[in-house]
């Protein structure tokens, strides 16, 4: 099992969610986050004074999937979250040792 963690532009969330649901992803966790990469924030102006917003708002999306489905999940996120402009985000893939569904105690693939 793998966990796919994607940092994406907030307004792309719905598109990504729909794209993943279409290939049978049945659950995900979403967090509002702030951060910077190559985009390096942006400047805003308030009452005549410019200031740097260096932590840009993003959405972090976490999906855990069976190892064999990971390529298609990554591909789906890639196509649906991309705008081609700087700040589109990143995808990270981790190994997951165990998954347990709390309600039933199911483990592994059954628990996904």
């Amino acid at each position: 099992m793998k966990k796919i963690e994607a940092i994406i532009k907030p307004f792309k969330l719905d598109e990504v969610k729909n794209a993943l649901q279409e290939i049978g992803v049945s659950g995900m966790t979403v967090t509002e986050v702030k951060g910077f990469g190559r985009q390096k924030g942006h400047t805003e102006i308030y009452r005549g004074a410019e200031y740097l917003v260096d932590f840009v708002p993003k959405v972090k999306l976490e999906v855990t999937a069976a190892a064999d489905t990971v390529p298609s999940v990554v591909e789906r996120i890639l196509t649906s979250a991309r705008t081609g402009k700087i700040g589109d985000g990143k995808i990270f893939v981790f190994d997951v040792e165990e998954v347990v569904r709390i309600r039933t105690g199911e483990r592994g693939r059954e628990a996904l």
Binding site: Y46, R47, G48, A49
Partner: protein, 459 residues
């Protein structure tokens, strides 16, 4: 049966008496209709109901009261503007300041302020009687109540202007003491110079012909200059000016809230200016038109100015522009044409943007722009009252206006400067660095304005 007859008897007698009074004889309706009206006027006083003079008096009461209530609502406008333009961690503190300066100010104005401002003034410098509404005898003219109510909301406006300029770093206890002193002394003394004769006083400034119809100087400059000295004595908020001199923005936490506040103030100003007739008469229409046009022109001019300088149509500056236009038209609103009001508002709209930048350059930190809006544009409007006077411009008039503007600056600088200095040396004017970083809400008031949101501040 008998009771019924007796019950009707007085009524019948009344009608009879009315008929007798009406014509000297019990004239029938037809005869009355055909009688020449001139005769009727002489011989027929209205049998009942108020006279035209009484109707006018009632109208004056109602309009003055409605206007007072509109001006009271401006207190909510100030609270919204000030908290919108400052950070979430100080929102409870701003609300408490706006609530308490009106509450403490009302009582201080009752105890001392009103008497100083409108009591009998043998010298022309301050009133000496009428404290605690003691002028009012039983069954006397209730106008005193109407006038007092209208004046107390003006005193509160002057007091609350200061709260914004001193936001996010002032000790709450020091602010409470300040609000008592401005409502009891600083505002009423200057007010007695310009407006004393509206009641029992007679001010030296108004005798010279000083025009300040609704208080560009009396209310707004007085509040604005007090705000200036408060901000100077306090020093800037932490992190406002970088070591290299760069101005660092500290964005307000809720611009829609600030915008709501400006709309409320604009609405309230329709009581502030037209209400200053304290009479229900047709003058209020032109004053309202002038007030509205100056606000609109102020918004447009500040928008264009900000757009030209910052390359963006800055929202916060446009909101300040509305207030700048309103403050500037407050003095001349009854003595200029609508077109002149557009010019006055537009000039104020440009000046307020430049003034905000100017005070930042001086490193005087005014989170909401109160010094520029009320102090600078109040003085500006008072001078423009002479420039755009509908009877033409005279140097003499401009001289009197300038004298009034200078008198307000000197009086407030001495008194408010001394007040804030004494507060600094005694109770302390500013909170500790730790309190300022955590927010005044938590340390001063023991809670937060938005407990269900996590507020992460970088500074």
């Amino acid at each position: 049966m008998t009771r019924f007859t007796f019950g009707k008897l007085p009524l019948i007698l009344c009608f009879l008496a009315a008929f007798l009074l009406a014509g000297g004889s019990a004239a029938v309706g037809l005869a009355e209709e055909t009688a020449p009206p001139a005769v009727q006027e002489v011989t027929a006083p209205a049998p009942e109901g108020p006279t035209p003079a009484e109707v006018q008096k009632n109208l004056d009461f109602v309009w003055t009261m409605v206007a007072a209530f509109l001006v009271f609502f401006m207190q909510a406008g100030f609270a919204m503007v000030e908290s919108g333009f400052t950070r979430a961690k100080n929102a409870v503190n701003i609300m408490m300041k706006n609530l308490m300066d009106f509450s403490i100010g009302s009582i201080a104005f009752l105890a001392l302020g009103f008497g100083i401002m409108f009591g009998t003034s043998p010298t022309g410098w301050f009133g000496t009687d009428g404290f605690l509404l003691s002028d009012y005898a039983k069954d006397a003219d209730k106008w005193l109540y109407a006038f007092w109510m209208f004046q107390v909301v003006f005193a509160a406006t002057a007091a609350t202007i200061v709260s914004g300029a001193m936001a996010e770093r002032t000790k709450f206890s020091a602010y409470l003491l300040y609000s008592a002193v401005i409502s009891a002394l600083i505002y009423p003394v200057f007010g007695s110079w310009a407006w004393g004769s509206l009641y029992h006083g007679n001010g030296w400034l108004e005798k010279l012909g000083f025009i300040d119809f609704a208080g560009s100087t009396v209310v707004h400059s007085v509040g604005g200059w007090a705000a200036l000295w408060g901000a100077v004595m306090l020093g800037p908020r932490m992190g406002r000016y970088a070591k290299d001199g760069k101005v660092m923005a500290i964005p307000g936490h809720n611009i829609p809230m600030a915008a709501l506040g400006v709309f409320i103030l604009w609405f309230g100003w329709f009581g502030f200016n037209p209400g200053s007739t304290t009479a229900g008469n047709p003058d209020i229409a032109r004053i309202a038109v002038n007030t509205n046009l100056a606000a609109a022109a102020g918004a447009v001019a500040s928008l264009l100015t900000a757009w030209a300088i910052f390359k963006k149509p800055d929202g916060a500056m446009s909101l300040n522009g509305v207030l700048a236009g309103l403050v500037a038209i407050t003095s001349p609103c009854a003595t200029v044409t609508p077109m002149a009001s557009v010019y006055i508002g537009a000039i104020a709209g440009v000046v307020v943007v430049l003034s905000v930048l100017f005070f930042d350059r001086l490193r005087i930190d005014d989170p909401v722009g109160a010094i520029s809006v009320h102090g600078v544009c109040g003085a500006l409007g008072t001078l423009l009252a002479a420039v755009f006077h509908e009877e033409g411009f005279t140097m003499a008039r401009l001289g009197v206006q300038a004298l009034g503007v200078a008198a307000a600056f000197v009086w407030v600088s001495i008194t408010a400067g001394l007040l804030f200095f004494l507060l600094k040396k005694t109770v302390g004017l500013r909170v500790s660095e730790e309190e300022e970083m955590d927010g005044l809400d938590y340390h001063e008031h023991g809670n937060t304005a938005y407990p269900n949101f996590q507020l992460v501040e970088k500074r």
